[in-house]
Amino acid sequence: MSLILKNGIVYDPRNGMKGEKKDIFIENGKVVEKLRDRKAQVIDVSNKLVMPGGVEIHSHIAGGKVNVGRMLRPEDRLKLIMPRTPLTRSGAGFANPTAFMTGYLYSKMGYTTTFTPAMPPLMAKHTHEELHDIPMTDKGAYALTDGNWFIYKYLKEGDIDKCAAYVAWLLKATRGLAIKVVNPGGTEAWGWGKNCTSLDDPVPNFDITPREIIRGLMEVNERLGLPHSIHLHTTNLGRLGNYVTTLETLKIPNGTKAAFDRQVMHLTHLQFHCFGGDTWKNFESKADEVVKEVNKRENVAIDSGNVTLDETTTMTADGPMEYYLQSLSHLKWVNKNVEMETAPGVTPFIYSNKMSSSSIQWAIGLEVELLVKDPWKIMLTTDHPNGGPFFRYPRIIAWLMSRKYREKTMAEVHKAVQDHTILPTLDREYTLDEIATITRAAPARAFGPLAETKGHLGVGADGDVSVYDIDPRAFNPNDYLEIEERFSKAAYTVKGGEVVVKDGEIVKVVQGRTLWSSPPVNEALAREVMKDIEYSFKRYYSVNLANYPVAEGYLSGSTPIVTKSKIA
C-alpha cells in the first residue's frame, strides 16, 4: 500500500523544511525517498499546508481518574455529543470525551500520536483498557512514581541501581512508556493529611525530600536509557507564589547528563507553576522570571498547560492540590489513595473570563509560549482537561499566531491581565514553522530515539501526516478565526500511510500502536529486587503480585522499546 501527497507546502522543522513545495511518498507505513509501487494512491495537496502528524505529550485521556471524572460529571456529557456514523461510534463529553470520541477528535485535528501522562501503576490494566478503546493514534502512558514506597526506600539507601531495577520492573509490569513524577512526596504525605510545601520538606515517615526524589529518579531515568526524560509536575502546583519553587526545580538537573539528545527534565504544564503574589488579590504572572531561567538551561524542556477559559474538570495525581482547589470553588470533588503509589483527585473548575485569576492564568499560558526563545524547548498542551479540553489547540494556535486575536480576547477578559501580566506588551507572532515545532518536532525530540520516526517527514519517519487547507504563501495571521477553523478540521490526516480523515471527517478507523519501555536489567539485580517486591506485595498490597502486571495481550499493537540500559 502506498501513497503520494503531491505538491504540498511542507513544514518539517527537524529536516529544516520551512514551506517548501515537496511531494511526500509513503510505502508500507513509512516515508520513503521513492516508491517502488507504481499504483500508488495520489492525492493532490497543491497549495495546502503539510506537516508531520501531531504529537501529544501530555493529555489525560486514559487512566483511573479520567473515568472518575466521567462518573463525577454526568452533566459534562450534555455539552458535547457526537452521534454515531456508519464508521464511528457515538460519544459524549466536553471536558472528558468518551474513549472512542477522544481518538476521533485528535485525528480530526491532524494528531497521530497521543501520550497520557498519569497512570497509577495499580490501575495500569484499566488505563490500557481505555487506551485500547482510543482509535486513530499511537499511544503510550507514563507510570506514576511520585508516592512509591519502593522508590523512597532505595533512594534513601542511596542504591540507584536497585531503584533503577525496580523502576524497570514497574515499567514492564505496567507497560509504561516513561516516568511521571507528580508533587513528589506530597502525594504520600497527603495520606496523613499533609503535603510537601517546598523541595526540601521531608515526606512524613520516610525522611526523604522532593528534591532527593526528583534528583534520584532523574539519575534512574538516564541509567535506564529511557526514551523520555522524567516528566515532572513539580511541588506547589497552582499555589500562590509557587514560581519560587519552579525556579529552584529548574536548577535541579545541573550537571546531569542525558542519555540522548534531549532534556533530562521535562517540566510539565508550566502555566500552573508561574504564580506570583500571596493573596488572590495580588496574584500575578511570574512567567517572565521563570521562562528566563528556562531559556538559560539546555537540559530542560517544558509544555505550556494553557488555560482556554472553559468550564472543565481538573484531574491530577496531586490529591492535596485538588482538595485545595475544591476548598476555593466549593464544588463536588473526589480524592483517591492508590495504596503505596499515589493519591489523585478530581474536581470541576470554571475558568471564567470575568474572574481575575482565570484571566491571568489564560495570559500566563500564552506568555510562557511567547517568551520561550527556542521553540524546540516548548510543547503545546492544555494539560487536558486541567486547563481546558485538547480540542481547543486550534484556538491556542490562533492566539499564538495572531496578536490581533490576543488583543481581542484581552479586551474580553478581566482587566487584571493589563497590570498583573506582561501579555499586552508581547508582540511576537508564531510562524507556521514554530507551530510545527511545538506541536510535532519538539514533543518527538523529547522522546529521544522516538524522534527518528515521529514528528518529522524525512525518510524512515512513520507515515503520519496532517494536511490543512491553509495556503502558507497567501496566509494572513489576522484571519485568526480562519486559522482556528482550518486547524480544527484537517483536510487530510494520514496515519501509517492510510488516509483516515478527509475534510475534517473520519473516513477510516484505524487502531494505533501502544509504545512502552522495556529496559533490560541484569539477572542478579532483578532477582534481588524481586525479593523486595514479593515481600511488600504480601505485606502491603491489596492485590496479589501475580495479578498486578498487565499482560502484553491487553495492549493494542504492543510496541516495546528495548533501551540501552546501564544495569543490563
Binding site: L72, R73, P74, E75, D76, L78, L331, K332
Partner: protein, 263 residues
C-alpha cells in the same frame, strides 16, 4: 393566539423524544414541513407525522403560536424543551423533561407529567394539572446549577427531590410531595400545599413552605420563631407558621423552612 394541533395517532411502546414540539420550531413552517420534522424513536429517526396528525395553518411569529396536543402524549419526552416563547397545551399526560431548560412562554399539561418536568428552567410558566413524578424543577443529573427562574405549578401531587439545587424561581405543589423536596436548594421558593417528609436536606438558601404535615424534620433545622400570615416577597400565606433555619449540616446557611402550625 393561532393554533397548530397535533392529534396523537397510535403511540409506540418505546418512548419518543420530540424537543421539536416548540413554537419557535413550528413558526414559519408549513404543515408539510412540520409533518416532516425529525423525532427520535429509540435509536431511529422518524417523522413527527408518523405519530401525530398535524392540522392548522402556518404561523410566522412564535409568540402568537399555541401548539395543542389533542390527546395523551404520555410516551413523548422533551416536549417544549428549551422553549422561549409561545404556548403549548397538552390535553393529556406527558413523558419526562417537559419544559426542561425553558426560558419563556407557557406550557399547560392537563394530565400527569413524568419526571424532570421543568428541569433547569430559566423562565416562563409550566402548569401540570395532574400529578408529577420525581425531580420537578431539578438540575440536570450531576449539575449543581438547578432551576434559575420561572414558575412551575403542580395541581396534584409530586414525587421526590423537587427543586433539587434550585437557584431561583418558584415551584408550587398544591398536593403532597415526596421526600427531599428542596434538596441542595440555594435560592427561590417552594410551596407544598399538602404533606412533605424530610424537606430541605442540605439547603443553603431560599424558602420552603409546607402547609400540610411534615414527617421527620431533619436534624439540621433549628426553630427560630413563629409567624402569623406569612409573606415571602409577593406571596402571602394565611395561618400560623413555625420558622426554622437550615440545613445546618451545611456551612453559611440562609435557608428558611416554614411549617404550618396545626390549629
Amino acid at each position: 393566539m393561532k393554533e397548530i394541533t397535533l392529534r396523537p395517532k397510535e403511540q409506540p411502546k418505546v418512548r419518543l423524544e420530540a424537543e421539536v414540539i416548540n413554537p419557535a420550531v413550528f413558526a414559519g413552517k408549513g404543515l408539510k414541513e412540520i409533518e416532516g420534522l425529525q423525532i427520535q424513536l429509540g435509536n431511529t429517526r422518524v417523522r413527527l407525522a408518523d405519530f401525530f396528525e398535524v392540522s392548522g395553518a402556518r404561523v410566522d411569529d412564535p409568540k402568537d403560536l399555541r401548539i395543542v396536543i389533542d390527546g395523551d402524549a404520555g410516551h413523548t419526552k422533551r416536549i417544549g424543551e428549551g422553549m422561549a416563547t409561545g404556548e403549548i397545551l397538552v390535553r393529556g399526560g406527558v413523558d419526562m423533561y417537559v419544559g426542561a431548560r425553558m426560558t419563556g412562554g407557557r406550557i399547560i399539561v392537563e394530565g400527569d407529567a413524568d419526571s424532570f418536568a421543568g428541569q433547569q428552567m430559566v423562565g416562563g410558566e409550566l402548569v401540570i394539572k395532574g400529578n408529577a413524578k420525581d425531580y420537578v424543577g431539578s438540575s440536570y443529573r450531576g449539575d449543581w446549577r438547578g432551576m434559575r427562574g420561572g414558575t412551575i405549578t403542580v395541581e396534584g401531587n409530586a414525587g421526590c427531590e423537587n427543586g433539587e439545587f434550585m437557584m431561583g424561581g418558584k415551584i408550587h405543589i398544591k398536593g403532597s410531595a415526596g421526600p427531599f423536596t428542596g434538596l441542595h436548594m440555594k435560592k427561590g421558593l417552594i410551596v407544598v400545599g399538602g404533606n412533605a417528609p424530610r424537606v430541605g436536606a442540605q439547603m443553603q438558601g431560599g424558602s420552603i413552605v409546607v402547609a400540610g404535615k411534615m414527617e421527620k424534620l431533619l436534624p439540621g433545622f433549628w426553630l427560630e420563631g413563629e409567624e402569623e400570615n406569612l409573606k415571602i416577597e409577593a406571596d402571602s400565606f394565611e395561618g400560623r407558621y413555625l420558622r426554622y433555619s437550615g440545613d445546618h449540616a451545611e456551612g453559611n446557611v440562609k435557608g428558611l423552612l416554614y411549617l404550618k402550625k396545626p390549629i
